[in-house]
């Protein structure tokens, strides 16, 4: 070991210990960085400088602040003054933070309509002042009693969009990991073109993926494996009123995992939502029927002695989702079968629940079960020991399931909003859309 390096490390250790020893007796004198749970001011105090304004009327219009007669002690100063010469009639509204709100300023302009009477102009200006004060009021105790509403319904498509709602996207991703005796890599790339409007939804995509892994078996030999897949998909959905939708899927797929050299399918579909689609972020109960034709060629002869075949299939699914104040629930059941032999079928059941039973006691359930009788693509060639352990190929099975349950109970001071980031504060998270 390098003696200089070891000396440096020892010196650093001694220095750190010294810091600890010196710091400990001084603990009592150190003020906390912020007192715990400082109560916000009850009401915002506002000094309004608007010559000729009817302060009583404004008080009634803006009840969530206290108007004060001078800027001393006020949190916010509002100055309303004409902008430019009188015939123009525009008014400048300057909202400036004072004291703890120093530097939080905004300048608004009120442009009265042509036939607006003075009373209406005063109302309009008052309304703008009210909006301008909300950012400060949000930091007072009054915030919890405020609510903001948009009085109209605006179409989400009421925008000037030269691309007519088309969005194109290219993405490439690589995942690599390894250690001395193990390496794995996988790559994923896609190109997509999507268009979403309330009347029509179009999704198209072309993708490819490659992955592999390598093991050093320790006795001078190694084991290597790889899988790959590629495909293209398209979906078009036309809205038919508040409950119905019609559309179709087109798909091309190749996959070594699933023994598919090339599979082409087309499937028209129809959907009914028991609740209006406009409630979809709160609840949905969607029933989807799909009927399709699939033409498939296999890499290896299947267990049914086929190297290619063309099949008709139909599927029905029912999906329920709800997000409510007590928690959320989702449940989906799907059944499908091939027409050439209805014994080739599959039933899939999937569900999830997050439920607050009582105060800090909550239950989380997730599960899925599939009854599988339609593995027509299984290779007759069988699998190696490594294929099984490394999940390289789809295996013959009559079912698969997964289930998880979690129960958690929290009590004590669970409403504490203190943030203390010292020595790290939980994890970091990041979401990336592919």
């Amino acid at each position: 070991m390098n003696p200089i390096r070891s000396r440096m490390i020892k010196a650093a250790a001694r220095a750190a210990l010294a810091v600890l020893v010196l710091a400990l007796p001084g603990l009592a004198q150190v003020p906390a960085s912020k007192p715990a749970g400082t109560p916000p001011p009850a009401l915002l105090t506002v000094f309004l400088d608007w010559p000729g304004a009817d302060i009583e009327a404004i008080r009634a219009e803006i009840p969530f602040v206290a108007f004060v007669p001078s800027p001393d002690g006020a949190n916010v100063r509002v100055v309303v003054a004409p902008l430019g010469p009188p015939p123009e009639g525009r008014l400048r509204i300057e909202v400036a933070g004072l004291g703890e709100f120093q530097g939080q300023d905004n300048v608004l302009t009120y442009a009265p309509g042509r036939d607006e009477k003075p009373g209406e102009v005063r109302k309009g200006v008052t309304a703008l002042v009210r909006l301008g004060l909300l950012r400060y009021a949000a930091k007072t105790a009054a915030a919890k009693d405020l609510s903001i509403k948009f009085l109209d319904q605006a179409k989400p498509t009421a925008v000037n969009d030269r691309w007519n709602f088309w969005v194109f996207s290219l993405s490439g991703n690589a995942f690599l990991s390894g250690e001395t005796q193990y390496r794995s890599h996988s790559y994923y790339a896609s190109v997509s073109a999507n268009r979403t409007t309330p009347a029509l939804k179009i999704r198209t995509q072309v993708y490819g993926n490659w992955s592999g892994s390598w093991f050093d078996l320790g006795d001078g030999t190694s084991y290597e494996s790889s899988t790959h897949g590629r495909g293209a998909s398209g979906m078009v959905v036309k809205s038919l009123g508040r409950h119905w939708s019609a559309g179709g899927y087109l798909e091309a797929e190749a996959s070594t995992y699933s023994n598919l050299k090339m599979s082409l399918s087309a499937a028209p579909a129809l959907e009914y939502d028991v609740f209006p689609y406009s409630e979809s972020t709160r609840r949905q109960l969607r029933i989807l029927y799909r009927i399709g034709l699939t033409r498939t060629r296999y890499y290896e002869e299947t267990v049914y002695f086929k190297t290619s075949e063309t099949l008709f299939q139909e599927a029905l699914s029912v999906a329920y989702e709800a997000v409510q104040p007590w928690g959320k629930v989702s449940l989906q059941i799907e059944g499908s079968h091939f027409f050439h032999n209805v014994k080739f079928n599959r039933v899939e059941l999937e569900g999830g629940l997050e439920f607050r039973i009582w105060r800090g006691l909550s239950l989380e359930l997730d599960g899925s079960y599939s009854r599988i009788r339609d593995q027509i693509a299984l290779s007759a060639a069988g699998y190696s020991y490594e294929d099984i352990l490394l999940q390289q190929k789809q295996l013959a099975t009559g079912f698969d399931y997964s289930f998880s349950v979690g129960l958690s109970f929290s009590f004590g001071s669970t409403r504490s909003n203190v943030v203390n980031p010292r020595f790290g504060n939980g994890g970091r998270s990041i979401s990336i859309s592919l």
Binding site: A138, I148, A158, T180, S280, T281, V419
Partner: protein, 437 residues
């Protein structure tokens, strides 16, 4: 958070009673007509919503008086939401409104909090309310401002009483995962208990966790079974010393089959310096932490060095940078540690998350870690079996290990993302969500 029905009832009562309710009236007499509204919507504030943990569909259906864009440079306001966990086990959302283009003179920060016991619906409603309040400064500059009503329900008297739990929070949880098919079976169970007390002056965290898992594969040579289990008891105490310094100690008792540890105890005093003030921690941190630990340990099987038990001294220094900016997220850390009895027994761990919106429509990310490992004192003295190797049940000798995910996305076309269309399911192109501890 108020349920819509309650709110409606409340509004109806208030409308009947109080003159103060006048504020709810629309500004302009009569609605402006749908064509007028659509014209106003075209001139509405362009918002770039930069939030990993928000229910975006819900926000877009609740707040319809702005236009949402997918590129930050197009926006008049970049809404950057950063989160930190609170002492009560909830989340603090810091919402920074950064004015851009013709609104570049306007800036604001709003906060909202969720508690550990809040459901997803309560959390998203709280966020929507805070977003609305903060957006109003921008909306007031557009014609659609005339169509916004503000309701104020006069508060009832009565404040929250003193905290009889004195900031203590206790949590107990149990989880089980089971999956299988005809030739494969996997199950794992996990249980934990924690007791935490977090105040601005100090932080005390105690935790116990237990887990066990089992996998079983049917092969032609009979079943192959793999098991792992571990138990862990941890404690952390931190004392605040002003805006930049903290001192504290870690305590841990652990047992792990994977690492060949029957029982290990460690006690580690530590000191931390943050180059940024701690009060800015939701947006930026650069923390250096030095730790010196005493670690008596007993192994399950004799180690590669022929030891069954030993007492180790270890020191470590880590440097962590966390930035959350308009351009994206950067999180880097490096930790170096070594044993004091043999400085050749050391390791260096590096970790990086970089997710940047570089230019119009182009974003790139790199997530990765790399470790140089020369301190595997607990390795098995014997060879691992073939199953232990393939199922990764035991720690194997290694000199390095890494993980990397790299990718880019380039988008062009329409900048608006106002529309929510849930028909035929709303699943997009898939995604990646990574949480790192």
């Amino acid at each position: 958070m108020r349920k819509p029905i309650q709110a409606a009832v409340l509004l109806a009562c208030l409308a009947a009673l109080a003159p103060a309710r006048a504020a709810a009236r629309p500004v302009q007499a009569g609605p402006a007509g749908q064509a007028g509204i659509d014209e106003m919507k075209k001139a509405a504030v362009k918002v770039f919503l930069d939030c990993d943990s928000c229910d975006l569909d819900f926000i877009k259906t609740e707040i319809t008086f702005v236009n949402y864009v997918r590129d930050r440079l197009e926006a008049q306001v970049h809404v950057l939401v950063s989160t930190q966990s609170t002492g009560g086990g909830g989340v603090e959302y810091t919402i920074t409104f950064i004015g851009q283009n013709d609104c570049s003179d306007l800036q604001d920060v709003q906060k909202c909090f969720s508690s550990k016991t809040d459901t997803e619906d309560e959390i998203r409603r709280g966020l929507v309310k805070a977003l609305k309040l903060g957006l109003m400064s921008f909306v007031a500059r557009t014609p659609i401002a005339g169509r916004i009503a503000v309701d104020y329900a006069r508060p009832k008297a009565g404040a929250a009483g003193p905290d009889r739990w004195r900031s203590w929070v206790f949590s107990l949880s149990g989880n089980g995962y089971f999956s299988g098919e005809e030739t494969y079976l996997s199950r794992s169970i996990y249980g934990s208990f924690s007791a935490n007390r977090v105040t601005p002056r100090s932080k005390l965290k105690l935790g116990l966790s237990v887990d066990a898992s089992k996998q079983r594969y049917e092969t032609e040579d009979g079943p192959v079974t793999g098991k792992t289990s571990s138990q862990d008891l941890t404690g952390l105490f931190v004392r605040s010393l002003g805006e930049h310094w903290s001192v504290g100690a870690y305590v841990e008792i652990e047992s792990s089959l994977y690492s060949n540890i029957d029982i290990g105890f460690s006690l580690a005093p530590a000191v931390e310096y943050n180059f940024f003030p701690y009060s800015q921690s939701s947006r930026r941190q650069l923390r250096a932490l030095y730790k010196l630990s005493l670690n008596p340990v007993r192994y399950r099987e004799a180690t590669i060095f022929g030891k069954l038990r030993e007492t180790l001294f270890q020191e470590s220094l880590s440097l962590t940078l966390d930035l959350r900016e308009k351009l994206g997220t950067i999180s880097l850390s490096v930790e170096a540690s070594n044993y004091l009895h043999d400085l050749g027994k050391y390791r260096v761990d590096t970790f990086a998350i970089v997710n940047l919106r570089l230019y119009k429509g182009l974003s790139v990310y790199v997530i990765g870690d790399y470790s140089w490992i020369h301190d595997q004192l607990s390795l098995l003295g014997r060879e691992a079996t073939y199953e232990e190797l393939l199922l990764r049940l035991r720690e194997l000798p290694m000199s390095d290990n890494y993980f990397a995910a790299i990718g880019f996305q380039f988008q062009f076309g329409s900048i608006f993302t106002n529309v929510i269309n849930p028909r035929f399911g709303s699943s997009g192109g898939g995604g990646l969500s990574i949480k790192v501890n």
